[in-house]
């Protein structure tokens, strides 16, 4: 374990060093990433600006969901998304052997080595939006904050699972750069109050591919809009992450190194 902590610490240090060397590129990339991540809040703002609303939800309540979603995306993009592109590239080139001969776990190494500092802007942007939304809402008590934190971490776990599933898919579906789109399309369901979706979709987004945990559930906890579904979804979230890890490791074992 200590080995991986050192590895991760070194990767973060390198990422910061690279960002400070290419400062202009880092700033530009961060701004672009923030811009493309505030699209959903912008859409919500325009909908409410037109005098419409999601029934039972105020503008700031919906923005709170979307800010939590943005923060969760930011954290997962920093920590996990790099493994998708890196795996895709290594499988296409047939160069994953270079990683496999290293005296560390392949998945752990790639997660650490692809730490992406650019996405810190998304976390920051999401946090600002979160602060603005919360400023217009009743102050949550300590218990609600604990609930929020617990569910937020579970959401990050779901994102780990999603990213590993994407990376695992790239072993079989070689060089398909649109694989992330496939998963990201489903993620959109986590960005809105779940009540607007049909019962069957709610069941899928809560228990099968628990994307509701990425944005909606943690925000609902802060807003005291909890229901039993949230707590039942804890187990599927853990299972989902486990499936992602297990499938990725299985695909590494199946890897034949022929490229594509």
């Amino acid at each position: 374990m200590k080995k991986y902590i050192i590895l991760y610490r070194e990767s973060i240090r390198i990422a910061f060093a690279a960002a400070s060397t290419y400062r202009a590129d880092f700033i530009l990339q961060s701004v672009i990433i923030i811009l493309s991540n505030i699209l959903f809040p912008l859409m919500t703002w325009l909908i409410y600006g037109a005098g419409a609303s999601f029934e039972g939800w105020t503008l700031y309540q919906v923005l709170l969901i979307q800010s939590v979603f943005t923060m969760s995306m930011g954290v997962s993009s920093m920590l996990f998304t790099g493994i998708v592109w890196s795996t895709m590239e290594h499988v296409r080139e047939g160069t994953l052997e270079i990683i496999l001969i290293k005296p560390v776990d392949c998945m752990g190494y790639l997660l650490a080595a692809t730490f992406s500092i650019e996405n810190i802007g998304v976390v920051f942007g999401g946090a600002v939006l979160f602060g603005v939304a919360l400023f217009h809402l009743p102050v949550p008590n300590l218990f609600l904050w604990f609930q929020f934190l617990f569910l937020f971490l579970l959401g990050v776990l779901v994102m780990l699972g999603i990213n590993l599933l994407m990376a695992a898919t790239s072993f079989k579906w070689v060089a398909n750069s649109r694989i992330p789109e496939l998963y990201q399309s489903v993620l959109r369901f986590g960005n809105y109050p779940q009540k607007i979706f049909s019962k069957s979709i709610q069941a899928i987004t809560s228990f099968l591919i628990p994307v509701a945990m990425v944005g909606f559930f943690p925000a609902a906890a802060l807003l005291q809009k909890t229901d039993s579904k949230m707590y039942i979804a804890v187990l599927p979230c853990i299972l989902f992450a486990w499936v992602g890890i297990a499938l990725y490791k299985y695909m590494i074992r199946q890897y034949e190194g022929v490229g594509g």
């Binding site: 590129d25 530009l28 990339q29 701004v31 672009i32 811009l35 493309s36 699209l39 912008l42 859409m43 325009l46 909908i47 600006g49 037109a50 005098g51 419409a52 609303s53 999601f54 029934e55 579906w173 060089a175 398909n176 750069s177 649109r178 694989i179 789109e181 496939l182 399309s185 489903v186 959109r188 369901f189 809105y192 009540k195 607007i196 979706f197 049909s198 979709i201």
Partner: protein, 272 residues
């Protein structure tokens, strides 16, 4: 006439080769068959909830709104373009020099490539998604005026290409133009009307959008599809907005030619 025939043959051959080349990666495009309907499903639930008991929002009824999103998804498959990426890659690597040796304008070559690529898009993205939207989601995906819609989509096809080509040309000055590309794409995704119809934007922004290229890429053909057009409180007849779109395309094409000529003076063929 001989010259026209020559251009036709060049376009046909380049388009055919591009079509064959991308057919090998057709599953890339086929991902749209899943992604498109999933995105549409999200929009369906969002707007059904937003309308609630309301008849209209900003002059659009729920069915019109759903048709708008269905049409914009389908039109996106026909007009999708990455000429900017191709061009900046050629400039950055110095490979653009090979096009200086060929007896064909690079922009025409790139346009022919796009034609072949989008024929593939028509077959593996547009047609399957059309049937899914029309027969599974029961959204009427037949345009109000087929002729005007085809013309408007064709103009949007050219508009998207010329605008992207201009963005790609910035690589002659910047070498690495990926930042400009990303900023432009982020702006286009908002101001072309793909995220939300432009009538939801503040009035001053709607007025400004008449002078920017974005609405002519997606919003205009999507509204022509549904048979009515309005923006910034200005309603236009279909032929009027298609004419305006045509004028915008011609201006952008001329701009791309001016930029192209200036770009060549900057070209060193050394890559970067």
């Amino acid at each position: 006439m001989k010259k026209v025939l020559h251009y036709y043959n060049v376009a046909k051959e380049v388009a055919l080769v591009t079509y064959k080349e991308w057919s090998a990666y057709r599953t890339h495009s086929m991902i749209s068959i899943i992604v498109g309907p999933v995105y549409f499903l999200v929009q369906y639930f969002i707007w059904t909830a937003v309308y609630g008991g309301k008849e209209t929002l900003n002059g659009m009824e729920l069915q019109q709104m759903l048709r708008y999103f269905g049409a914009s998804a389908l039109i996106g498959y026909l007009t999708m373009d990455f000429a900017d990426w191709n061009l900046q890659m050629l400039v950055r690597t110095g490979k653009f020099v090979t096009f200086q040796l060929r007896p064909v304008h690079h922009r025409f070559f790139a346009l022919s490539q796009k034609l072949g690529h989008r024929v593939l898009g028509l077959l593996v993205e547009f047609i399957p998604c059309f049937f899914i939207f029309h027969f599974i989601f029961h959204i009427n995906m037949v345009p109000e005026y087929i002729g005007w819609t085809v013309l408007s989509v064709l103009l949007a096809f050219f508009m998207n290409f010329y605008v992207n080509y201009c963005i790609g040309l910035t690589a002659f000055w910047l070498v690495q133009s990926s930042g400009i590309r990303s900023v432009f794409q982020a702006l286009a995704s908002v101001f072309s009307g793909g995220l939300i119809p432009l009538v939801f934007f503040p009035k001053y922004m709607q007025k400004l959008l008449f002078f920017l290229p974005f609405q002519y890429i997606l919003y205009v053909p999507s509204r022509v599809f549904s048979g009515s057009y309005s923006l910034a409180g200005i309603s236009m007849k279909i032929w009027q907005i298609v004419l305006l779109q045509g004028v915008a395309v011609v201006i952008t094409m001329l701009l791309s030619e001016i930029l192209y000529r200036k770009s060549l003076k900057k070209f060193t063929a050394a890559g970067g």
